[in-house]
């Protein structure tokens, strides 16, 4: 606790005063004309584009008119990101030092403004194995040496569209509310910031958006039925997922309210999930309060309450944050894909892994009889081209099964050119009763295309 407290004090250190001349008003907009910049970045061309140049200039072709009345102007691009990292971390089974790679490649076939087909692969990792090399492994099931995660498995393949746009002849004068959105296929679902659902699921979703019932500014309602690929690492695999996701803007607050039901597979238990969040700002403070509940058929229920508070500091874009959580019994995410962290990942960067190699979170992100906090500051440097996050975090055991643990984590990221990022992260971890502190660290390069 003491260590975390000292770090917290460092984060709260007074800000450097803004330098300006005596009598000058530093906030007044300038009277001096500002000439147009001559250094505007050019459009980065995707590795593959077919049809019109993606967001490029030039005439646009008229496209093809379908019998439904829709006009399609097909255009395809290939895009994604590659990550390469040297990582050293203490996992639950022991230390791993490694070089790991990840490649996320997507194809987007845009048919109209609202209809498209998305296909995605992760060619260099599969089932937790990232192509690369393990230099040192204390994990019994992980051999040192080359790692091969090469694959061509489809991670994403879905079509999304809008009935009203697909069949405009159903309402030629546009007076009928035909604009029901839908998405069909293998798709990534991410609700309640990934704490309720964070998975790639085979299914179909139907949605109504831009609804404006009285008392609201906007309402979105989404219904989803998933039939495959539903992962529940904490409670066994599931056969079906039924969900209602909603989001409502009111004058001051945005509410997200979601309900899920996953039907267990091969005798596994069914599970209900519920999430409610309220996000607002008041007098300079940002507040996101979140309540998540899970209940299984066998009556084991758990919950997680999370509050994220932050403030943008005067004279800068820097953000100071303080997040607290409390989990009782065991809260289980309704559908959680591999390598996506546990329910506490939003608490702080100390609770989240890297999504690369075996580099896990400094503090466990499982939500089982625990409470804790993360306090940190995000510095934006060189405009916004560089950033540093310093964070102190603690996880306290609420039962004898667990132990208290503390971590301090720093993460630095910088943009290089128009496509590259260099990132480094280090954590120092102390677990109650341990003889010494542990250190995790990684250095990573990213390429966007």
């Amino acid at each position: 606790m003491c260590r975390s407290g000292l770090l917290l004090l460092a984060l709260l250190a007074p800000l450097r005063a803004q330098q300006h001349g005596e009598g000058e008003d530093p906030f007044r907009l300038s009277d001096a004309p500002i000439p147009l910049t001559q250094s505007m970045p050019a459009r980065p061309i995707p590795p593959l584009e077919w049809g019109e140049p993606f967001k490029g200039t030039g005439p646009i072709r008229p496209g093809y008119r379908l019998p439904s009345g829709a006009v399609w102007q097909p255009q395809f691009i290939l895009f994604g990101a590659a990550r390469f990292g040297l990582l050293s971390s203490e996992t639950a089974q022991g230390r791993v030092d490694e070089w790991a790679n990840r490649l996320d490649v997507f194809g987007n076939l845009q048919l109209t403004g609202s209809e498209r087909i998305v296909v995605g692969l992760r060619n260099l990792d599969q089932a937790g194995t990232f192509s690369g090399y393990v230099f040192n492994s204390e994990v019994p099931s992980l051999d040192e040496g080359n790692q091969d995660g090469l694959n061509a498995d489809l991670q994403t393949l879905f079509f999304e569209g809008d009935f009203g746009e697909l069949f405009p002849n159903l309402s030629p004068r546009d007076f009928r509310p035909t604009d029901w959105g839908f998405a069909l296929g293998r798709q990534n679902l991410f609700f309640q910031e990934g704490l309720l659902v964070d998975d790639v699921v085979d299914g179909i979703g139907i949605t109504r958006n831009s609804l404006q019932p009285k008392g609201t500014s906007n309402l979105r309602l989404t219904f989803f039925y998933g039939w495959g690929n539903i992962d529940r690492p904490a409670s066994g695999s599931a056969e079906n997922l039924l969900a209602v996701f909603s989001s409502m803007d009111t004058k001051r607050v945005t509410y997200d309210c979601d309900l899920t039901f996953t039907q267990g597979k091969n005798g596994q238990t069914d599970q209900w999930g519920f999430g409610l969040s309220a996000t607002r700002r008041f007098i300079g403070w940002n507040s996101s309060a979140r309540l998540l509940l899970s209940k299984q058929e066998d009556d084991s229920a758990g919950g997680l309450a999370l509050h994220e508070a932050s403030r943008t500091l005067h004279h800068s874009e820097d953000l100071l944050y303080f997040n607290v959580y409390w989990a009782w019994n065991t809260f289980r995410t309704s559908s959680l894909g591999a390598g996506r962290g546990g329910p506490l990942k939003r608490v702080g960067i100390s609770f989240a892994g890297a999504g690369l190699g075996h580099y896990g979170s400094a503090l466990s992100s499982s939500a089982q009889d625990t409470f804790g906090f993360a306090a940190g500051r995000q510095w934006f440097l060189a405009g916004t081209r560089r950033q540093f996050i310093g964070e102190a975090a603690a996880r306290f055991a609420d039962s004898e099964l667990n132990k208290d643990a503390y971590a301090a984590t720093g993460r630095y990221q910088m943009a290089l050119g128009r496509r590259y990022i260099l990132a480094g992260e280090a954590s120092v971890i102390y677990t109650e009763g341990a003889e010494q502190m542990e250190v995790n660290g990684r250095v990573e390069g990213q390429v966007r295309f």
């Binding site: 530093p26 007044r28 907009l29 001096a32 004309p33 500002i34 147009l36 505007m40 050019a42 459009r43 061309i45 590795p47 593959l48 967001k55 200039t57 005439p59 008229p62 006009v71 971390s89 639950a92 997507f106 845009q110 109209t112 609202s114 051999d143 040496g145 080359n146 090469l150 009203g164 004068r173 546009d174 509310p177 998405a183 990534n188 109504r208 831009s210 500014s217 906007n218 989803f224 996701f245 989001s247 996000t279 940002n286 996101s288 005067h314 944050y321 997040n323 390598g339 990942k345 608490v347 896990g360 979170s361 466990s364 499982s366 081209r385 996050i389 910088m414 943009a415 966007r448 295309f449």
Partner: protein, 597 residues
């Protein structure tokens, strides 16, 4: 040990060695990626060269050409937000900022709507309007709608515009009948053959009834960003509105006789061919008035064919309107030897220029009146309800209602539309004891984006009632915060826009950014509440509450956020801010007096 709990167990079948073929595949893939991602489009397109070539092509006729036979349509359009779309220095800087911050990945997304002709011509996405092709500067010009022949739906502005000179067919709501009569009657001396002399006219007017539908407006007024972010939802809101249920279209309210209200259409000729009117028919208003207004030199906007013939834009920028050049009072006092720019050396030229400017100012004033009407149709200020009035304090509420049935208010680019209440309370001795909705020295309301509030020099206005939607970004940690621009640099420092890899139809937002809409739904009202504390009360007597509902085009803080790329026409941030504030309109006001015992 509680470290790394979320890591998936490593599969027992881990391979300890990569085959040579696998390594080759990996190396090839990485090499391909690194090679391909290195490509960038040339930044050095010569605008001048492009222009020289394009001037001769006549692929996209100018509105000035259309003005010959459609002078009334031209006049309305010339002062419209459509005509201002590309000329706006705020737009130019804003889209330039977004292109810069997204490392070029935003491409022509924003500007494609604002100057479809310029983008069709392949002009650079960021440059001075002074150097753009004249038709490119016309923004949403005549052919943007009248040379589109398919219903593209929610396309975010990427319309296919048919190319061709004036003689090529145009599209219209009612087809060819009247045009055929004009061509065949011999009365109008028109000519459809580019190789013959005579009054030029297009040879065909193809019927395109979608021009009269709300779906046509949706091609630009329902905007989904590259990453699926729902930036503007005017059409989507309309689809579920009472107006749609009653079969009232966008055009019924925004092209009729009363701005913002469905009160029918005017009747009149579609054209004056050689001064002879064509047959009377439904005559739509092309002013499309909205919340925007011009902050640039009055000779540059509204578009004016006389101004175009008289001088270049650069020359016009040297004409000192504020000093009164060309006015009788100014010219009478000009001392011998006074220096003027070459183009405005003679008093005759200055008088003529003044005449053009006066004509434009009259049109701007007309548009301003129409703007007030459309805003008054959209926003209704109700009564002030005093709930408590004693020496222990005051509390009262004010009703603000949506006057439309077609969409929320504000709509469209609602994240940059400033509509707010200014509330003042005066004590019996006429001292101001409470204020909300006042402006900081830059002209901003005191929200968290005011430079003075952000810098800690002024307190935030706790009672500020504004209907402006907010861009919200999810921070790496610490929840979400408001930002002036919808760009998130918190998860990583390299915003790089690509299509979302999730379904954004289902969520309406990409992962890390969204919009918090704060507007009023159709048929709904808000009742913001205010309190005057005991310490501010000034004893018993008659107190006065003044309420104004005010609309501005944009918040001034946006000017600060986008100034890094510079402003066109040699304008300073201060000048733009002053003109933005000068354009604030009081939509409605209320005043109540009451006694405090």
């Amino acid at each position: 040990m509680w470290i790394g709990k979320e890591i998936e167990p490593v599969e027992a079948s881990l391979k300890s060695h990569l085959s040579a073929i696998s390594w080759l595949r990996l190396i090839f893939f990485c090499a391909m990626c690194l090679t391909l991602v290195g490509q960038n489009e040339s930044e050095t397109k010569s605008a001048e060269a492009e222009h020289a070539a394009l001037f001769t092509e006549q692929r996209y006729p100018s509105a000035n050409t259309c003005a010959t036979c459609h002078p009334d349509h031209f006049r309305e359009w010339s002062v419209s937000p459509h005509a201002y779309a590309q000329l706006s220095p705020v737009f130019n800087a804003m889209q330039g900022t977004i292109v810069k911050l997204t490392n070029g990945t935003n491409g022509d997304f924003c500007i494609r709507c604002h100057t479809p002709v310029g983008m069709n011509m392949g002009e650079p996405v960021f440059m001075s309007n002074l150097d753009r092709h004249p038709t490119s500067r016309e923004g949403v010009t005549c052919i943007t709608c009248h040379r589109v022949s398919d219903a593209y739906g929610k396309l975010s502005g990427r319309l296919a515009i048919s190319q061709g000179d004036l003689f090529e067919p145009v599209v219209g709501p009612s087809g060819n009948q009247e045009l055929e009569r004009v061509i065949e009657s011999g009365e109008y001396y028109v000519n459809t053959d580019p190789n013959r002399a005579g009054r030029a006219i297009h040879k065909d007017a193809k019927p395109f009834f979608q021009l009269t539908t709300s779906g046509f407006c949706a091609t630009c007024h329902d905007v989904n960003l590259i990453n699926g972010f729902r930036l503007e939802e005017a059409f989507s809101e309309f689809k579920t509105s009472p107006a749609a249920k009653n079969e009232t279209s966008c055009q019924d309210c925004h092209m009729g006789v009363a701005p913002g209200e469905a009160k029918g259409y005017a009747q009149g000729p579609a054209a004056l061919v050689g001064g002879v009117p064509t047959q009377t028919r439904k005559r739509t208003n092309h002013m499309f008035i909205g919340p925007d207004y011009s902050v640039i030199h009055p000779a540059l906007f509204p578009h004016n064919t006389r101004a175009t013939e008289m001088a270049t834009l650069r020359e016009w920028l040297t004409f000192d309107d504020a000093a009164g050049w060309g006015s009788e009072s100014f010219e009478a006092k000009v001392a011998p030897g006074t220096e003027f720019p070459e183009r405005w050396k003679t008093a005759d030229d200055r008088f003529e220029a003044r005449d053009v400017i006066n004509q434009n100012k009259a049109l701007l004033a007309e548009a301003n009146q129409a703007r007030l009407k459309v805003l008054q149709a959209g926003y209704k200020l109700g009564e002030v309800q005093v709930k408590k009035a004693s020496q222990a304090g005051l509390s009262f509420s004010v009703e603000v209602a949506n006057g439309t049935t077609g969409h929320g208010v504000p709509t469209g680019f609602d994240a940059e539309r400033l509509v707010f209440l200014r509330v003042k309370v005066y004590s019996p001795d006429d001292q101001l004891i409470f204020i909300s909705g006042d402006l900081d020295p830059n002209g901003d309301v005191r929200d968290e984006h005011s430079l003075y509030v952000h810098g800690g020099a002024l307190p935030q206005d706790p009672y500020l009632f504004t209907l402006q939607s907010k861009f919200i970004t999810r921070m790496e940690r610490g929840g979400e915060r408001e930002q002036i621009l919808a760009l998130n640099v918190s998860p990583d420092p390299l915003p790089f826009l690509r299509p979302s890899t999730n379904s954004t139809i289902l969520t309406g937002r990409p992962g890390a950014v969204r919009k918090h809409k704060q507007g009023i739904a159709p048929g709904d009202a808000r009742f913001p509440e205010y309190e005057v504390k005991k310490r501010d009360m000034r004893g018993s007597g008659t107190y006065r509450i003044q309420v104004e509902l005010i609309a501005g085009m944009i918040p001034v803080n946006l000017i600060s956020a986008i100034q890094g790329v510079g402003f066109d026409y040699g304008l300073s941030p201060r000048q733009i801010a002053d003109r933005v504030v000068a354009g604030h309109l009081t939509i409605a006001s209320r005043e109540v007096t009451f006694d405090v015992p």
